[in-house]
């Protein structure tokens, strides 16, 4: 089973990478770019578990290591 973590800077937290990418896109003529957030994508492969347990485990992983909730937001997707 595969757990996908999509991590991005929390709202209100400065994202210099996102800002630089936004400016770059605008300089290329994409005038409608309003904002860009640059985050992280992490894949965790787990064995011998059902989907519900994997979601619980993923939340624990996020809390204990994968995410710093003071500065980051995240979403989980579990793929069988």
């Amino acid at each position: 089973m595969l757990i996908k973590f999509f991590i991005k800077p929390r709202k209100g937290v400065l994202d210099p990478q996102g800002r630089a990418v936004a400016e770059n896109l605008r300089s290329l003529g994409f005038d409608n770019v309003k904002d860009v957030k640059v985050g992280k994508y992490i894949e965790v492969y787990v064995e011998n578990t059902d989907k519900e347990k994997a979601i619980e485990e993923a939340k624990e992983m996020a809390k204990k290591a994968i995410v710093n909730d003071l500065i980051e937001d995240y979403e989980i997707q579990v793929v069988e």
């Binding site: 937290v13 400065l14 210099p16 990478q17 204990k64 710093n68 003071l70 500065i71």
Partner: protein, 226 residues
């Protein structure tokens, strides 16, 4: 007073710190490996700068889960002293030994220069050899030094005197123009509520001999001893 200098894979200011304590402060000091859990011999552990575990995940994140960092929690709860410098500061925030987090610098670049700092609170074991509002000069060298904390925690920290150092210019001006990385309130160094855990982005260990351009690091490091 017996010191230990923490060594994680990727620490790179460990020997500078060891040298300053042994050869300049003339105090007993040992390196402690990141797998060590027995800190009973020491009065102060310094978590040095560098790129522990390659800054993977987030700076300090993986180091914060090591046996040594976990043992530091127990060590600190006994009132012993912990100092985190640069990456060490990042490790201590990730381990929740200090509030807040260190974000990438707001300009997106690595910053490496001498920086003036204002002493906000001199009534701590780490700053008692300095006076309030004294201006000192220390080197900074980091990519992720942008101190962030939520407004409620910040207000509490201000009230408790947990803000130790702020970035300023040579005249002590603290504002956006003298902020090298976007830190909230120009914060360069903070301590915990109990005032025995101190984290700072500047490098006092690189500023203990005048040949290096400033020896102001000694003012901080000798505060604990004298």
């Amino acid at each position: 007073m017996r010191f230990a200098v923490a060594v994680y894979p990727g620490s790179n200011c460990d020997y500078d710190t060891y040298y300053v304590i042994r050869d300049i402060l003339k105090k007993e000091v040992e390196f402690v490996d990141y797998r060590e859990t027995d800190l009973s011999k020491y009065d102060c552990v310094i978590v040095p700068g560098g790129f522990s575990f390659g800054d993977y995940l987030r700076p300090g994140a993986i180091a914060s889960h090591t046996p040594l960092t976990q043992a530091l929690k127990d060590f600190a709860s006994k009132g012993k002293f912990v100092i985190g410098i640069c990456n060490g500061f990042q490790i201590l925030t990730e381990a929740h030994l200090l509030p807040g987090a260190l974000l990438p610098n707001n300009h997106g670049k690595f910053v490496c220069k001498h920086q003036y700092l204002k002493v906000e609170n001199n009534e701590t074991p780490f700053t008692k050899n300095l006076s309030k509002n004294q201006i000192i000069k220390l080197p900074i060298a980091h990519h992720d030094g942008n101190y962030f904390v939520d407004p409620e925690t910040l207000a509490e920290m201000e009230k408790n005197g947990q803000i130790i150092l702020r970035y300023c210019d040579e005249n002590g001006i603290v504002d956006e123009s003298t902020n090298p990385n976007g830190s909230i309130g120009n914060i360069a160094g903070v301590c915990n509520k109990e005032k025995n855990v101190f984290g700072l982005m500047p490098h006092p260990e690189r500023a203990c001999e005048s040949i290096l351009g400033t020896a102001d690091g000694l003012l901080l490091l000798t505060s604990l001893i004298n």
